[in-house]
Symmetry: C2
Subunit: 253 residues, 2 copies
């Protein structure tokens, strides 16, 4: 049977979602979830596909993944059984039977990411796993202007890190919003898809503008250049969380 | 010279504030801060006293500590130098010269603690270091009634864990408030002082009432009995944070 699960994880102690190779000893969320399913089913390797292949240190509140099991079980029982096997830094929040044509990544129509950046002089230790840190105030108007620049359809080739292999680098951002909670920048961005390290590069651009090292027009030109050497460095992974993945109602039972 | 510092820490990887013995290899906040000061001053051991001797796993946003250094330095420089030596899970938020008669614990007039308890079926992995977990809804009215019971002056001998050695077990709670953020209970409690594991025992009582295993009158009787065997078990340490310590203006320069 075909299942989809909603997963939450603390990415700090994982080398990202995706397993490098089947024999690798690297701890990834995929390898841990596949290991739990193998243990549960007692059979051969179960391949798990996720909506977003999060990088090392990136967290998830609502990652979606899908897989097939030869012997099915009721979804609530599957969720409980997996949580009994999985380590504490990955949890199954929900499980459901998936239609045959559902695919966690290919069926997704949009994803929402959140980035948190603490800008006080000293970062609270209780925040260090879940927020980036820049130890000085930022120009908030400049940050907001860059967030607005990103909205809509653009070729984001300048914001793609090396190693990406996609047919097109155009993406449509339907939400690109900055809010401040005391000295913490909270950025939420929603799009039909994201390139490799794209969210962290979006934040990198806002940080460059907020620090005054690169202006709005320079960033606009660097975006249009489709050349990643012209774009500021991506922000630290630890501030990033995959919040939600949306699907068309037609593929959800 | 005499200094006081405001400290924040993530208690997860510490065996509490207090060093067990000078030769102990146990990682405590006190040993780490004293080690940083010894390295900074290049001299003999510097003894650091804290306002609240937090247990293993308990966090701090505003712990206060004091110590003497033979060779003084400007407080902002001291804070920067210590943060350059300390591990990332302890930070100096602020440093100041202290008057001769200031003592972090003895001079304190009140302390504020916060306890967070997630009550959803599955705890988010990003919350597991900073909130306790009870995987079922609680009776919110019963929880609020117990919080109100604690207010005022009481003999809290029933809520003191073994090993406490204080002259009196009477304490005055000036604040004992429950709020809910979705399925998370947020409890704030302020008093002139706390006994050993007292905040976790206060939460243990609220949890017992919220689960329906012990009613308000039974808790009132258990409090009056001054017998810790009659009181419910303390809540998990990881949900507890020392938020703030207050001093009379006269001891602050």
């Amino acid at each position: 049977l075909h299942y989809r699960v909603s997963l939450a994880y603390d990415g700090t102690d994982f080398e990202g979602w995706q397993s490098q190779s089947r024999a690798s000893a690297v701890r990834t969320v995929q390898s841990v979830v596949e290991g739990a399913l193998a243990k549960l089913s007692g059979g051969p390797r179960v391949v798990v596909a996720a909506a977003g292949r999060t990088d090392a240190g990136v967290h998830a509140l609502g990652q979606v993944a899908c897989f097939r099991l030869e012997r099915g079980m009721p979804p609530p029982e599957l969720a409980r059984a997996l949580n009994g096997i999985l380590p504490a830094d990955v949890r199954v929040l929900d499980a459901a039977e998936a239609s045959e044509d559902f695919h966690a990544r290919r069926s997704a129509v949009s994803k929402l990411y959140r980035y948190e950046l603490d800008t006080g002089p000293v970062q609270l230790p209780t925040r260090r796993r879940h927020a980036g840190h820049w130890p000085a105030p930022l120009d908030r108007a400049a940050v907001a202007a860059v967030a607005a620049l990103y909205l809509g359809r653009h070729d984001f080739a300048s914001l793609q890190s090396a190693g990406g292999s996609v047919s097109t680098t155009e993406r449509t951002l339907t939400r690109s919003e900055v809010a401040w909670r005391d000295a913490t920048l909270v950025y939420e961005v929603e799009a039909d898809g994201f390139l490799r390290k794209m969210v962290r590069s979006l934040v990198g651009g806002m940080l460059a503008a907020g620090r005054g090292v690169m202006g709005l027009e320079a960033l606009r030109a660097a975006l249009a250049a489709r050349d990643r050497r012209q774009w500021p460095a991506p922000a630290e992974a630890r501030g990033l969380t995959l919040v939600r993945v949306d699907y068309p109602a037609a593929v959800l039972p």
